[in-house]
């Protein structure tokens, strides 16, 4: 794959992620995006869903990207919680493929459902078929949704769909909806923990 092809593929993949998330965000909502990168999801949501929102990001260059993209952003470390953000001040809080890069998993999930009515979480499923195969063959998995070598990955928490749902149950977080997709972007219905590469959740306190 050439660099160009790789970039086009990554962009298609990203658009696909965005579309799944946007499908859960009613127009005109107030949205908080944690680990927002250069703000392209928020920009997409404001263009397609007319949302107003803020991003939260720790990386300086990403914050610069947000400002270039005209996206409202707050530079802070969400590992330390979301103090300053008022209770239920957002309709949706999103963490798109960033939860696995943070240590304070429980704290972040609890904080998300403090500041918003509903949380949208997406993450790569470590138990996806090809990842299991890689481990079985004695190698750390590198895949479409886990594209990093073990020595330079930003990910610090490696978990599966089954693990995540256990944690939600333990934290009293209700899974309102789950969508899983394989590497080709096809929706998975059977045994998502085996067949799903990327998982999306709508989470709340109570149904």
């Amino acid at each position: 794959m050439t660099e160009h092809e790789r970039r086009v593929k990554a962009e298609q993949r990203e658009r696909f992620d965005f579309a799944v998330i946007a499908g859960w965000i009613p127009p005109g909502e107030r949205v908080l995006d944690l680990g927002c990168g250069d703000g392209r999801l928020l920009r997409y949501l404001s263009e397609t869903r007319d949302v107003s929102g803020y991003g939260v990001e720790i990386d300086g260059d990403s914050v610069l990207g947000c400002i270039r993209n005209g996206v409202d952003v707050i530079q802070m470390d969400i590992e330390c919680g979301l103090s300053g953000f008022e209770d239920k001040s957002f309709d949706h809080v999103i963490i798109s493929q960033a939860l696995q890069t943070m240590h304070a998993t429980e704290g972040i999930l609890n904080e998300m459902l403090r500041v918003a009515d509903e949380a949208v979480v997406s993450f790569p499923n470590f138990a996806y078929r090809t990842n299991r195969a890689a481990i079985a063959a004695g190698r750390m998995p590198v895949s479409e949704d886990l594209p990093y070598d073990w020595f330079d990955t930003p990910n610090v928490r490696f978990f599966t769909i089954a693990d995540f749902e256990d944690l939600c149950a333990r934290l009293g977080i209700h899974v309102r909806e789950r969508l899983t997709f394989d590497e080709a972007g096809r929706e998975v219905s059977e045994d998502p923990n085996l067949n799903g590469s990327l998982a999306f959740y709508r989470l709340g306190r109570g149904s």
């Binding site: 107030r30 400002i67 707050i74 300053g84």
Partner: protein, 377 residues
């Protein structure tokens, strides 16, 4: 990167305007008309939509960029920011710098002659506040035909003016850039200011503020005030890096003369400042800082105080600034968030403490450039 000398606004000249109508001040006192000196850079467009006001901090002036024909060494205090091709690009914006009311660079202040007595105001100059400065700046905006600023920009005390603009004239400011600032001073901030003031008023040459009539200047007091202020502008780490425990004479002299380089530096800064800055202005500026507290009238609720603001905000703080630490900027940010206002907040890694806002740190300037580029004119 283009060097600053290559894209300077070049030779500039200060202008002066007189406002005849009296100005009622926040303290209740009234000024019977006043003058402001100011400079402008770039060209006001036909729609008058590209004007940016840059507010100065404690010791700054209207001279933001460029230099004077008869004084080429006197380069504006924020020349690294303002100019053609610089982050605050004078090819796009019409930039205005003004010496605040009560200042000592030519605007009406303690050095001016009181029309009622025919003598210099000195200590009789009424106390002015951040809000009074903004009211005076609004008259300058009227004079220049600027109904709405594209942006008001300031660092430190200048950032407080940008914030105050968004509250006093919400319809007249589209963007506020509040840098290395705070929504109010802490007890520690006020304490440092009080040490500086006591240094000045206890100088035997102060004469209750009427030193000019006595033909003297409270140089020792001003010098001490600047020395203590300067310590708060720098970070511990930067001071350590710059001076460490370096010795002036290579050995301990066991005297009260300069032993350590940092002592020499502070004395130099103090001497330099005392030569040109007015002591009454310094006292007043520090009081303006102390009194600034938009939440005061709202039982300390900053979010309620900011409810009237309409502008979009850029807020930035610096990691090593302990005078106005990042947490102080976050107070502003979350009060803006409460009011659902647009805000971009950057916490910039920079070693230079409070004074970082005056430096041309590449990331800091890239942020400013990006934000300012997105402002429609």
């Amino acid at each position: 990167m283009v060097m600053s000398s290559e894209n300077s606004v070049g030779v500039v000249a200060a202008q002066r305007v007189r406002f005849a109508a009296p100005l009622l001040l926040k303290s209740g006192a009234q000024l019977p008309g006043f003058e402001l000196v100011f400079e402008t850079y770039g060209t006001l467009n036909a729609e008058h939509s590209n004007a940016v006001l840059v507010c100065h901090a404690l010791s700054g002036s209207h001279h933001i960029a460029g230099h004077y024909a008869d004084d080429p060494e006197n380069v504006g205090w924020w020349d690294n920011l303002v100019g053609p091709g610089k982050p605050l690009d004078t090819r796009k914006f019409f930039v205005v710098g003004v010496n605040n009311l009560g200042g000592c660079y030519g605007s009406t202040g303690p050095l001016s002659v009181n029309p009622e007595t025919g003598r210099r105001y000195g200590a009789d100059f009424p106390m002015v506040t951040v809000e009074d400065w903004v009211a005076a700046q609004a008259r300058l905006a009227d004079h220049l035909g600027i109904a709405t600023w594209a942006a008001v920009v300031g660092g430190s005390l200048g950032g407080m003016q940008a914030l105050a603009w968004s509250l006093q004239f919400p319809e007249r400011i589209r963007h506020a850039l509040v840098i290395a600032s705070a929504p109010k001073l802490s007890a520690q901030n006020i304490a440092f200011n009080e040490v500086a003031r006591q240094a000045i008023v206890s100088d035997p040459d102060f004469h209750g503020g009427h030193y000019a009539e006595n033909g003297v200047i409270p140089t020792r007091g001003l010098r001490l005030a600047r020395m203590v202020g300067h310590i708060t502008y720098l970070s511990d780490s930067q001071m350590g890096e710059k001076f460490g425990r370096q010795l002036r004479h290579g050995e301990h002299k066991f005297s009260y003369d300069v032993d350590f380089e940092v002592e020499s530096y502070l004395r130099h800064q103090g001497d330099k400042f005392a030569r040109f800055f007015d002591a009454n202005t310094y006292l007043m500026m520090t009081k303006a800082l102390d009194y600034f507290d938009p939440a005061y009238a709202y039982d300390g609720n900053l979010a309620a105080a900011l409810a009237r603001a309409k502008a979009s905000f850029f807020v930035a703080s610096f990691s090593t600034d302990w005078r106005f630490a990042p947490a102080r900027s976050r107070e502003i940010v979350f009060a803006l968030l409460h009011n659902r206002l647009h805000v971009a907040y950057a916490e910039i890694e920079c070693d230079a403490g409070h004074d970082s806002f005056l430096l041309d740190d590449p990331h800091y300037h890239a942020l400013l450039r990006a934000y300012l580029e997105n402002i429609a004119v």
